[in-house]
Symmetry: C2
């Protein structure tokens, strides 16, 4: 597997290595004819530039790391697609690591990216508080970072997300207009910005229609898996709590609740409506189909990639915050009120 190098071309044409290099990077200080000769020679010798040599020269690795909170949902894979769309076009490798909703693993992943000397990190959190120290250290060492979707609470970092508050508000409003009065909320991790925002949207919508919210019987904190959702469903019916709708932080959670609720005899959506945030294709294959807020995942990835590119080029550029528009998808799980 001997690779042909720039030297081989030089030798082949009895020309200097420098000239070949110049010809290849389109430097102006080279005659048209020689440039063409070099290009021709490169073609017939099947020359392929060796990225690691230039990487060493320039001191970067041409790879960015992506750390995603989970991968059982196609959420992350869609975003990663978007990221790759723009990064691959710029000759940058993408390595992705899955935290499995575990802060410990997230921390490991961070270390891993450092070890691999990536040029930048794109990340969606599973917990901010647990690893805040590491993020700060990384930021101090001028590692370019951009956050997407699940971002840290109140921090000046480049970020791309959707309007969690407004979308949650409108979604809850639609449930209420559809006749639901006792809407239970399953919260996300409380050190993540989005949890607070979605909760706030829920609260404000409930307040607008003067619907009571009892913190201990209508707001639940859980993990992030199907199973965690199922457990909330159990306590909900075991404690005999009266409710006619559930709004979950994530579609994983929502699917978990919905399925267990059905198994426990609740009719969906007749007796209880189910809705969630961060929907993916998954919400269309469950029964009934799940009402959810669907962020533009591909675009989210592309934007994140653009931001990291910007940061890599100029580490001192201002931290931009991109807010994308998410679609509210009303489906059967909520009684399909106000279809779009």
């Amino acid at each position: 597997m001997k690779h042909v190098t720039i030297k081989d071309i030089a030798r082949y044409l009895s020309i200097s290595v420098s000239t070949v290099s110049r010809a290849l990077v389109n430097d102006k200080n080279v005659r048209k004819e020689t440039k063409e000769k070099v290009l021709e020679a490169a073609r017939i010798l099947e020359y392929k530039p060796n990225p690691i040599a230039t990487n060493l020269k320039y001191g970067h690795t041409n790879t960015v790391g992506v750390i995603v909170p989970e991968m059982v949902t196609p959420f992350a894979s869609k975003v990663v697609s978007g990221i790759q769309n723009v990064l691959y076009a710029n000759g940058i490798k993408v390595i992705v690591a899955d935290s499995g909703e575990d802060p410990e693993i997230e921390r490991e992943n961070l270390k891993l990216m450092e070890h691999f000397m990536v040029d930048g990190i794109i990340i969606s959190l599973c917990s901010w508080r647990k690893n805040a120290e590491d993020y700060r250290r990384l930021q101090k060492s001028e590692m370019p970072m951009v956050f997407y979707d699940r971002i840290p609470h109140g921090l000046d970092v480049p970020q791309v997300l959707v309007d969690d508050y407004r979308k949650s508000f409108f979604l809850i409003e639609k449930l209420i207009l559809g006749g639901r009065k006792r809407i239970v909320h399953i919260q996300g991790p409380d050190d993540i910005y989005n949890s607070q925002e979605r909760l706030r949207g829920y609260m404000d919508a409930m307040a607008k229609y003067k619907l009571p919210v009892e913190a201990d019987s209508m707001i639940f904190k859980a993990g992030m898996t199907f199973e965690a959702g199922a457990e909330v469903a159990e306590t909900l019916v075991k404690k005999g709590i009266g409710f006619d709708a559930v709004f979950a932080f994530t579609d994983t959670l929502a699917i978990g609740v919905m399925n267990r609720l059905r198994e426990l005899g609740k009719k969906i959506p007749e007796e209880v409506a189910v809705a969630s945030f961060s929907g993916t294709e998954l919400s269309t294959i469950v029964y009934p189909k799940l009402t959810t807020v669907e962020p533009p995942l591909l675009q989210m990835g592309e934007k994140a990639a653009e931001l990291i590119l910007e940061k890599i080029k100029n580490p001192d550029c201002p931290n931009r915050k991109e807010v994308l528009n998410a679609e509210i998808r009303m489906r059967e799980s909520s009684g399909n009120i106000h279809p779009e």
Copy 2:
């Protein structure tokens, strides 16, 4: 972000670069005390070895590429986890590309991996025929490759898979013993080994019980998406074909059929049982839960990683074929006959 190098350590200790290098790689030709001094200095100077320098030196990139056929299912992400488990432990980066069941994209991904000069490729096909040329070229250029799950038809390459034939056979047998007589099969791409094997398992099981199989009304070829499955469901009921079970190549396909069948009024599993291969967590969140053959995904990834490591170390080593054991999961979609 100035990095401290081996030279800094050498200067700091008034010692030669060579000695520092030797101390760091545990060469025997260095005194214990100097080694300790170097290690100490490395610690307090916060030295981190620069992988790209050694990569250039040794002529490899320390990354392997993984090409997966799809990512809407968590199948690939689990396998990738397994791969990362062993590769990360060996200091090797993993970059993954998703072909989205499109041979064209698969081809692009192949090119991409070449361009990034990965040390090896682990791949699960979406089509063999369309890109056979590229694979052969790659193999001729001595690029280490290992295939998992979806492998090319009859070719001597390192591969890790499950026993598609036997598992399909037993699964169909269980359906038959559960009372199903007219079992429809939805085939996978016909240039993939697994399609042939699963079909063969289906045929032989049907034959064993003397059940007729009419090729044009019981065997269907489709795409690989939920939608493709749904379309088969449509033609099935529109043409008024009599059937009491469906066995699909993949759970994506199965979920597609099952959901549309239900929408069209078929009772599952009472009227028709549904079963599939290559099941993941997805098959437990749909309604009813899906009967499927579940390969040991993590282990599959780990084995694939071990094989690629072997190939990288010694390109001339024999092409091993690892057959893993898959579990048949009987669930509600098939009437839950013979539960384990």
